[in-house]
Symmetry: C2
């Protein structure tokens, strides 16, 4: 709870990122239906009977809206909101849930302010249209799931204004906003939670976490707590051993001021990447991200793979994401001297690749 | 692998029971579609495109057949195969997948052989009818999931003949057979895997595990292995720390002959329960189960709760399952002297309850 996002004073612990999102979806569906039937209204006999055979009204047709390019996990509920690579999805049955476009910005951001604001508006209009359309089709949007930076899908970022507007739409339409911080949470953006960068006027309804947090789970407000016991449950409900690891990690983050380190190092790394793309404009573009959670585009998918391979030969592990991006995911202790070493090797590679 | 079910020489490790079943479903869907399109046939462009927006043919309409009373977990895929208690399912959207009746036997088994064989036949005929029906509806049954003893649903057992016939139907219809040993696996039935009691002519296609096994996962044959990498994946893919625990547990089970202990103790406990139901026929019936994985029915749900409560007052933890059953889940080290202590207190309670 010492690192709970502001305003979210409940936490439900889980095993991994997928089951965190799955159970967060359930919490959202339960909350949505409670609001539909009224707080104190009991279940009807018809709901009780029909849910046991997977049918409405007990198992209602509700949906979670997600974004193209998103990755939220691989179990069947999560996979219906994942749209990053076909190999994750093909052959697996899916819920018919709406998918909105996620902003695709032009870079550098400061030279494309008007175009990118228009891109935000286009995507948000599509969110509204889909909520409307799925509502009419009898599959209301109970919640919206979004990554603060689309990670697996190519490190696609969106503006604070985009997230503020998205929250406004969610509130107006009665849908919950779930921010999936499984990959971004735990410090790599220079704050414990990436959505702290967005200055949202009120907290999101649910924030899921895993990976750097050692175990899975989600933070949520009191309104998301089911009124009855055993509606969200798991044999282990997390892992006390992992919590001990997490406590130590959080202590070290504080003692060694690692978030400040990430911000300082991240600024330097981003500047290095920006300079590199100016010097190698035929190879690189769109340096982007927050903290050390950074990425850059390569001219082609092949070039990306070549650069990642050549870096490896020089002892540097980097990773591909999306079609032709390189993503940087250094540990929180990555310092300014490491940026110097990395940029030196990166520039060597850029000179050598064809 | 030292305790892999005979004939299943692959294991995929996971975090918990739910994600084990979810990923086992995915393996089954991938296997089923590979057989449909032909082993060497590549994905079509239409499959690749449509799966990204949750639509057929890429996200095909396929189903997993489950049984009334079953419990297979709480994430959205698993929950579509869980039918034990409405509070687990209500308000959560579900896949429209077929649900067959699970045998409801008359007890004592030896006095109701013909009736119970007819009950097997009735349930199996319904399995065949549902596979036919869902095939015609365009939602073919890719797999069948079944517990060797329905645990959460009331410790409902089925005969070896039922499981042998079920496997025969699955093979004839081209559906995979998944045996969910999350609750029964790890020794409590007197064998590491409960389905070893069934003398199946060939191994099941998939066996899932968790709980007593310390971490989740599933055993499967080579035919269930996807041809491409990263189709079944998770950040952690299990937990090496838990594997170390499991290794020690398996060593102790062997060193101390705990499976033999479970069989011996289980026989004695079952005999005690059978005698108790003869002496208190207005209170108890249907003593059943394998090893120490035993249960008995009470005359009413209230009586069950009263007995469980009164046992607790005497320092004995037991648990309810189904409508009016008590389930016994002692540790593997529960010995004959513990049976004596338990039966003494149980009989005291039976004399005291109204």
């Amino acid at each position: 709870m010492s690192v709970a996002p502001v305003g979210l004073d409940h936490v439900t612990t889980m095993m991994c990122g997928s089951c965190s999102n799955e159970n967060a979806f359930k919490n959202i569906f339960i909350w949505y239906q409670k609001r539909q039937r009224g707080e104190a209204t009991p279940f009807t006999e018809s709901e009780i009977q029909s849910c046991m055979i997977n049918q409405a009204p007990g198992a209602p047709k509700l949906s979670i809206l997600s974004f193209h390019g998103a990755f939220h996990g691989r179990t069947l509920g999560c996979l219906s909101t994942t749209h990053s690579k076909y190999i994750h999805k093909i052959d697996v049955p899916s819920f018919d849930w709406p998918i909105a476009p996620f902003p695709q910005y032009r870079y550098p951001l400061e030279e494309n302010v008007r175009e990118n604001a228009q891109e935000d508006a286009r995507c948000l209009a599509e969110v509204e249209r889909l909520i409307e359309q799925y509502g009419k089709r009898g599959i209301p949007v109970a919640g919206i799931i979004v990554e603060p930076i689309q990670s697996e899908g190519g490190d696609n970022e969106a503006s604070p204004e985009f997230f503020q507007q998205l929250q406004k739409i969610a509130k107006a339409r009665g849908s919950a906003l779930l921010i999936d911080e499984v990959q971004t949470g735990g410090g790599p953006t220079g704050k414990i939670w990436c959505h702290e960068h967005f200055n949202l006027p009120s907290p999101p309804d649910v924030v899921t976490f895993s990976k750097k947090m050692q175990l899975g789970g989600y933070y949520h407000g009191a309104h998301m707590k089911p009124s009855q016991p055993y509606r969200v449950f798991n044999t282990w409900m997390g892992d006390p051993g992992k919590l001990l690891l997490l406590e130590s990690i959080l202590r070290v983050i504080k003692q060694e001021s690692l978030l400040e380190n990430v911000r300082r190092t991240g600024d330097k790394l981003k500047q290095g990447l920006t300079e590199a793309q100016k010097d190698f404009p035929h190879l690189l573009s769109a340096a982007r991200g927050r903290g050390t959670f950074l990425a850059i585009n390569c001219a082609t998918p092949k070039l990306r793979d070549d650069i990642v391979g050549a870096l490896k030969q020089k002892g540097v592990l980097s990773g591909g994401c999306g079609e032709q991006s390189i993503r940087f995911r250094p540990a929180l202790i990555f310092g300014e001297k490491h940026v110097d070493i990395f940029m030196d090797k990166f520039r060597q590679v850029l000179k050598e690749v064809k």
